[in-house]
Amino acid sequence: MRKEYFRILAPLTTLEDVEILKEAGADELYCGYVTEELTKKWPLAFNILNRRGEGQSFEDYEIFKETAEKARKYNLPVYVTFNGLYTHKQYPLLLECIRQIERLPGVKGIIVADVCLLLALRKNNFKKEIHISAGGTGFNSSAINFYAGLGAQRIIFPRETTVHEIREAVIKSTKIDTEIFILSEPCGGFIDGLCSFFHCYEKYYNLDNDTLVSLSYNTEQEKCGCSFYSKQMQQGNFEIFDARTQKQIENRVLRSIAARPAHLSFGCNLCGLYDLKDLPIIGLKIVGRGTNLPYVSELVKTLKKTLVYLLKRNITRKNYIQKCKELFSGISINNGRRCTKFDCYFSPHWVRYEK
């Protein structure tokens, strides 16, 4: 029997998603769950509770319970994200929220980014699996061992880790489950766990045909750091300084490049799987809580087909990549842009030091 190398984790947003994602080929599901008490004090829009905005997490316990139960019947383990960075006052409500879902048989574990939450869960004798999110910035084997020592069962590599770095970290570290992002949504010029740009994602309510009413925090700001940075640069709202003398300089070439549309987003990362296929089981996380279901299920379905092809004996890299292109030709990934080495976060292109 063929060894199973990859498991597909799909984002779960509603009860109805479960069946469709199962049919598409998902092996595991992940989602957010928050309580009303938490969101009143720390609005979801600011991405504080689980790195997602409004309308992307379960907010009703009964519905979540039914969803987790349905997933259990379909043999789909559910992992719940608590990957925010929490402060002291949040802990009583946060731990109460976690205790609520810990009781559900369909919930297999939770995903955390915060070392302190990991410690709190251990102290409270949390019985289910704990995964370290990309926000935990586990870039190396020693960090993986550190988290494993604190009781983590799986580590999710930061998006910016190259295939070579993933291989090295996995081979050198304690035997712990690992997970990587795949078919990523546009996000993240910055490292998830080391980005403190504010984010504000609000849900808009279309009440009737004539009037669009939005409940708004009126931030006037770009909704995340990447778009803020790109926009400022494109609009030319910057000065250039010499790093040594600290004196202002002018550089027309840089200004001209800055004026072009910039992309701080990532790509699909399918090519990189070829170099990871001999490692122990790796979870492949499709980003997209709150993304439309037909699109996500199409991604899952196509990724499943890709994996079948990848795990065939004697498949060459060239043939594999060609097959990826064929399979995904009808699906808009990478924001519809052509695949380039610039967009791929597995690519060593960004981290090699050119002398």
Binding site: T87, F139, A143, V213, L215, F228, N237
Partner: protein, 277 residues
């Protein structure tokens, strides 16, 4: 003097040094390509030693490749008897704890997880209760204002460092100092002894990346452009300036008052005469 706040200076070159400092910080927090070579580290260690200044070596987040470079540096410092090491990667901490008992670990500002974006200041203080009606393309758009709750502001004033469980963990691990940035609003810091707090001034970091080529507009991998130029981004809405150098974006704040530093329990300041690259 018992109540004195220790003054450290973060130097990237010898001429950054100021005589009135008590301690020298050297190294890089943001990029493994900028971990100093062993020769450079030795030079700066000697530089501090000759001037009778304490020495703190600052390390970044690293992959296994960078971990090896850090290991060599730590090995050298461990042999010298004692040095303080700022770690910004739990893997570096584990390496230090397992192998280098002469070194004192300090929790770096990348791991103290403050919410730093100064643009939030405007949202907290100016936009609450704001109402706006916009007519666009024949459709009436009404924005119903939602004030941000006080608890949101309180959340941004602090971080995990105030949590007793976390403080206890740090002390149990032998980590006796942690480091923070000066936020653009009043901070609520409650760190109990024996833990001590360091504050970086005037630059605080907002976000960092491994794709510096995207930020410095070269669209290529590291060519050490961080040593050549940086951008000062002028945000007209928040009225804050951002500084983008290499793979990291910073903001700048005024030097806080002595009374404020005492109030939040700061026992050391690290002055960065330039962006720390």
């Amino acid at each position: 003097m018992k109540n004195k706040i220790e003054k450290a200076i973060f130097i990237t070159e010898e001429h950054d040094f100021k005589k009135n400092c008590d301690r020298i910080y050297f190294g890089n927090e943001f990029c493994q390509n900028l971990i100093p070579s062993l020769d450079t580290l030795k030079r700066f260690y000697d530089f501090a030693f000759k001037r009778k200044k304490q020495f703190t070596f600052v390390t970044p987040y690293v992959t296994d490749f960078g971990l090896k470079i850090v290991e060599d540096a730590l090995s050298f410092l461990n042999q010298q008897g004692h040095a303080e090491i700022v770690f910004n990667d739990w893997g570096v901490f584990k390496l230090m704890k397992d192998n280098f008992s002469n070194l004192s670990p300090v929790l770096g500002r990348l791991l103290t997880k403050q919410r730093r974006d100064p643009r939030m200041r405007k949202i907290f203080f100016e936009k609450q209760g704001f109402t706006e009606t916009i007519d666009s393309e024949g459709e009436r758009t009404v924005l119903i204002p939602r004030p941000t709750p006080q608890t949101l502001y309180q959340h941004f004033q602090t971080s995990l460092i105030n949590i007793p469980l976390f403080q206890k963990f740090l002390v149990a691990q032998g980590i006796m100092r942690l480091e923070i940035d000066n936020l653009a609003w009043e901070m609520d810091i409650r760190v109990k002894k024996p833990l001590k707090v360091t504050l970086y001034i005037p630059y605080g970091y907002v976000a960092t990346s491994r794709k510096c080529g995207k930020l410095n507009l070269t669209n290529r991998s590291c060519a050490k452009k961080c040593q050549g130029y940086f951008f000062k981004i002028k945000d007209k809405i928040s009225c804050f300036d951002f500084y983008s150098i290499g793979n990291t974006v910073f903001y700048k704040t005024e030097h806080p008052s002595y009374a404020y530093l005492k109030k939040i329990g700061v026992t050391r300041t690290v002055y960065q005469p330039r962006l720390p690259f």
